[in-house]
């Protein structure tokens, strides 16, 4: 009860600050995922087409994923210094795996007979990609973005250690004072909510884009 009141107090006294950090936190995560999508989706398509590349690329993104977050930040910090950009870069790297992997899976799992039908009807390779492969793998690619975004929102909390700001700032502030549970929660709850909400919204989008559900869209 005590904690709850403290929490409410904190929010009412620091509303503007909390909102600013939520916004910042979200933007950093979203940018990381966005850049990863811009790079990762084409890579996924490419390795789906040239299957000889796929083991190499996949093990590379897998390795990236296994680096502990703090270690990654530390290394990147040595190169890029402190600040938001370093965090966005590491979020970008973490997002690559789910995005590349899902794009690859989505594209390679498109029914071969549909590809044959497309080619046999006189589509160019680009047209097959745009009119058949991408629309049919869109929901799988979305699932990758969804995973990436949820992970990014979680990892972004440690951005505070390199001065990137975000909800991690609030959490760390709570750990630095005695009796800071309420403040820790003040940072942790929005982070969790944001992750759940992102998961939910992206999940909805994913289902809406799934070809099996197409009839419900119009």
């Amino acid at each position: 009860m005590d904690i709850l009141t403290k929490l409410m107090n904190y929010y009412s006294q620091n509303a503007a600050y909390v909102w600013a950090e939520i916004y910042r936190h979200f933007l950093m995560s979203a940018y990381g995922v966005l850049f990863a999508a811009i790079i990762g989706i084409p890579i996924g398509i490419l390795i789906a087409k040239y299957s000889r590349l796929s083991p190499w690329v996949m093990s590379l993104v897998n390795v990236i994923q296994t680096i502990p977050a703090l270690a990654m930040l530390a290394v990147l910090m040595l190169v890029m210094g402190l600040g938001t950009n370093t965090l966005v870069l590491s979020l970008f790297l973490y997002s690559l795996l789910p995005i590349v992997k899902n794009t690859y899976t989505g594209i390679t799992e498109v029914d071969r007979t549909l590809l044959e039908a497309g080619h046999a009807m006189g589509m160019t390779r680009m047209q097959v990609l745009k009119m058949v492969e991408l629309p049919l793998s869109l929901s799988v690619i979305m699932a990758g973005l969804r995973t990436a975004l949820v992970i990014a929102i979680g990892i972004a909390t440690i951005g505070t250690f390199i001065g990137a700001g975000g909800l991690g700032d609030i959490i760390v502030r709570g750990t630095n004072i005695s009796n800071g549970t309420a403040i820790i929660l003040a940072g942790a709850i929005p982070t969790a909510l944001m992750a759940v909400l992102a998961d939910f919204l992206m999940g909805w989008l994913e289902r809406a884009l799934s070809p099996a559900n197409h009839k419900h869209l119009r």
Binding site: D111, T113, L114, E116, A117, G118, H119, A120, M121, G122, M123, T124, Q127, M131, V132, P135, L136, P211, A212, H214, K215, R218
Partner: protein
């Protein structure tokens, strides 16, 4: 229209799937390629639109080597239907049908008009154009698959066991529908199947393949009568051979060429007089150009004598008809199934050519008894 010149396909280094194939296909011809599994039917067909590139030899369409044309252009001018149907699940039926026109950059209005025109060909309502493939039955989906191949009006259509995955009744219906469509539209068809009945029913000529080589190319009739060798004989099956021994297989060969007819503008009393004279209880109704309009029978006339005066007022237009080149075997089965006493024979323009009655069939049976001693078996099958 389509020529294979010494065409071979070698997979890998040694696997000869098609071996030095020579074949000439005429415009408007319905060709069925048939043979045991793995004999190279699909390979042969896919080489035509370059889904598979020939290792040797030349394939010419209208005299032009397919290798000299851009793949994409070549394929847009050739319809393609496969067993797995392959409709795009994320596109409506309308979008699926008009995909090739879209690739050819037809304007939207024209595509829409084309889709509506096409869907009518297969007796589906326009509402279907806005649905998605997964909402349709297998048979309906393959009808759409066929329409998709017809959309840009290509002269040549390739079909790889298109009806293979459908249940027998649906298949039977689609075969008839499609044969009819093909004859009306004058398309050249290359049709792969491994169902001999299907090939006999549909093909103008059947290409029988074995181990990548052609064993025999002939009309269904000729193949049934004179199989090239034992392989063909076994492949066709003994029952089919025996059935066709008399050498009479098409309706045109046995029909009565002067059916009892009446002009549609005649009066009912003339009709009755005619019936008495010819000792029949129904007459086929025709127009000035000898097109078949329907039939009238004695009972109809009796019932409507007071109300009506001319034949056209009471003519019954729903009736089963066959073409001259329909198979006798099929026709008999259908007459028995539908309990009809006769079937009029018409040409593509619905012009009356003759009639097959139960009496005609009886004649056929007597002929074969007197003609050949051992065909007593047939007598029983015909009844």
């Amino acid at each position: 229209m389509l020529t294979f010149k010494n065409v071979s396909k070698v997979y890998g280094k040694t696997k000869k799937a098609v071996n030095s194939l020579n074949l000439n296909i005429n415009k408007g011809e319905f060709i069925c390629i048939i043979g045991p599994s793995g004999c190279g039917k699909t390979t042969t067909m896919k080489m035509i639109n370059r889904l598979i590139e020939p290792s040797e030899g030349h394939i010419l369409i209208e005299g032009k080597d397919i290798m000299d044309q851009p793949k994409v252009k070549l394929r847009r001018d050739i319809g393609y239907v496969i067993q797995q149907i392959g409709l795009f699940p994320h596109m409506t039926i309308g979008e699926n049908i008009t995909l090739v026109p879209k690739l050819l950059q037809w304007p939207k209005e024209k595509r829409k008009a084309r889709a509506e025109e096409l869907i009518e060909l297969v007796h589906l309502s326009k509402d279907y154009l806005d649905r998605y493939p997964q909402e349709l039955s297998g048979g309906q989906q393959q009808r759409i698959g066929v329409l998709r191949a017809l959309a840009s009006n290509p002269p040549l259509i390739l079909m790889d066991e298109p009806f293979g995955a459908l249940d027998p009744i649906t298949r039977d219906g689609l075969q008839e529908e499609f044969k009819d469509l093909q004859q009306r539209l004058g398309k050249t068809i290359v049709f792969v199947t491994h169902d001999m009945d299907e090939a006999i029913k549909l093909a103008d000529r059947i290409v029988i393949m074995r181990d990548g080589e052609i064993v025999q190319v002939d009309t269904p009739d000729e193949i049934l009568r004179n199989p090239a060798n034992e392989f063909v004989e076994n492949f066709i099956g003994k029952d089919r051979l025996i059935q066709t021994k008399p050498g009479v297989t098409k309706v045109g060969q046995i029909m009565n060429k002067v059916p009892a007819t009446i002009h549609k503008e005649e009066t009912l009393s003339t009709a009755i007089k005619q019936m008495k004279e010819k000792r029949v209880d129904s007459l086929l109704v025709i127009d000035h150009e000898h097109h078949l309009e329907g039939y009238i029978d004695v009972e109809d006339i009796e019932q409507n004598r007071k109300k009506s005066t001319t034949v056209s007022e009471i003519v019954e237009t729903e009736l089963y008809k066959v073409k001259e080149n329909s198979l006798i075997r099929d026709t008999i089965q259908k007459m028995l199934k539908r309990h009809t006493k006769y079937v009029p024979v018409v040409d593509e323009n619905n012009k009356l050519k003759g009639i097959v009655t139960r009496a005609t069939l009886a004649d056929l049976v007597y002929d074969s008894i007197w003609g050949e001693e051992e065909s007593e078996e047939e007598l029983t099958t015909l009844q």
